[in-house]
Amino acid sequence: MSNTRMIELIGVQKSFGTLQVLKDISLTVDKGAVVALIGPSGSGKSTLLRSINLLTVPNSGYIRVGDHAMDFSSTQTLPRDRELAAFRARTGMVFQGFNLFPHMTVEQNVMEGAVTVLRTPKAEARELALSLLGKVGLADKAAMRPDSLSGGQKQRVAIARALAMKPEVMLFDEATSALDPELVGEVLAVIRSLAADGMTMLLVTHEMAFARDVADRVVFMRDGCVVEEGEARQVIEQPAHPATQAFLSHFHNGLS
């Protein structure tokens, strides 16, 4: 097991009924690296991301995050609730739809994982929440309810909520796709600062310029397979595979 690889997937497969959504996916993400996952809608990007923290449990394959591994090739039995929870607690995930807890304040949202899952004392969790809210530029919104925030602010709270678990890895599933164009920048800026801090990240995105500039590597998926993978600028500006070229041709006006 290599210490430089934070995420390692080997032969991951997932089917929903007869539909095979992930076909034998293998993928690694180095510690501190940023990997962008791109591809057409329905290609299995979300399913792959969700497999990494077992929100979707694969049918077979091997998944390792840090020094926690799960092997689905041999065992027939599904991991138990406790094991799943412990595994997920080590990765942060940010969703397209924010999924903030509407019955809690912004500060409570950010404290929730630390208090309930990590059993951090409330005062300490509150301090942590306030510092993370400061980091995403929302310290003044601590007492607000999520529904009074803009989309960009909601997503920044969601990022702070995930960071409060002190994750080894952050997963972003189209974190800016639900935002009005003028709000995309503030969320990308936060992700960029996490990259600068050395956070290991895997992000599904349609922001090709962002992927090119911030990611170290880009992975292109289609129909449940990794079609092309490489250095970010290389894949986005000079894709080798015709399918990648066809996909990226839709974005070229946004890639100046």
Binding site: A85, R88, A89, G97, N99, G113, T116, V117, R161
Partner: protein, 219 residues
Amino acid sequence: MQYQWDFGFLLQYKGLVGIGALYTVGFTILTALSGLAVGCLVALLRLSQWRAATWVVTAFIEVFRCTPVLVQLVWCYYALPMLTGLELTPATAAFLTLTLYGASFYGEIIRGGIISVDLGQWDAGRALGMRRSQLMRRVVLPQAFRRMVPPLVNQTVLQLKNTSLLSVLAVPDLLYQGQLITSASYRPLETYTMIAVIYFAILFPLTRLAHRLEARPGH
């Protein structure tokens, strides 16, 4: 024909009426609580992955929803002992029936509340590393509860009305006491009017409450 209304005589029966009100309200509270407890279990079993349990619980719910309470009550008191050899007192039979009847409706309300919570909320809680019980307690139930309260109050209003059927088994609820008073006083008009007014006085605030809760905007 001029009927001479006279409510004054009812004063001498105030003890009987008090006991009746106590039984009516007491049975409502007890069977609402037990019905809610069993209802929670019913909802969780229906939502579980455990196929056999889901099937049994669904069958239970349909049986209790698709037969009249009066029939359930009479069946439980007269027929069940013949099947099991277990004699039930009228109060026990009544408690059992109203609990299960309530549970079948409460259970569906609770299940509906739980499944009305956005799947993204489950994802978010799981992604934080919450275990199933934590997810329920911290994320799902607080949100589901707000949506459940108005229908739960409405169902409890029905539950209270249904206690009037207990009189069939000679459980001394309000209606049964009314029958006693009538047979002693020969004044059904005043007696049953008073009984109706007492029911109304208890239930009207409850239905207002349900209405207020329904009108409240929220999640």
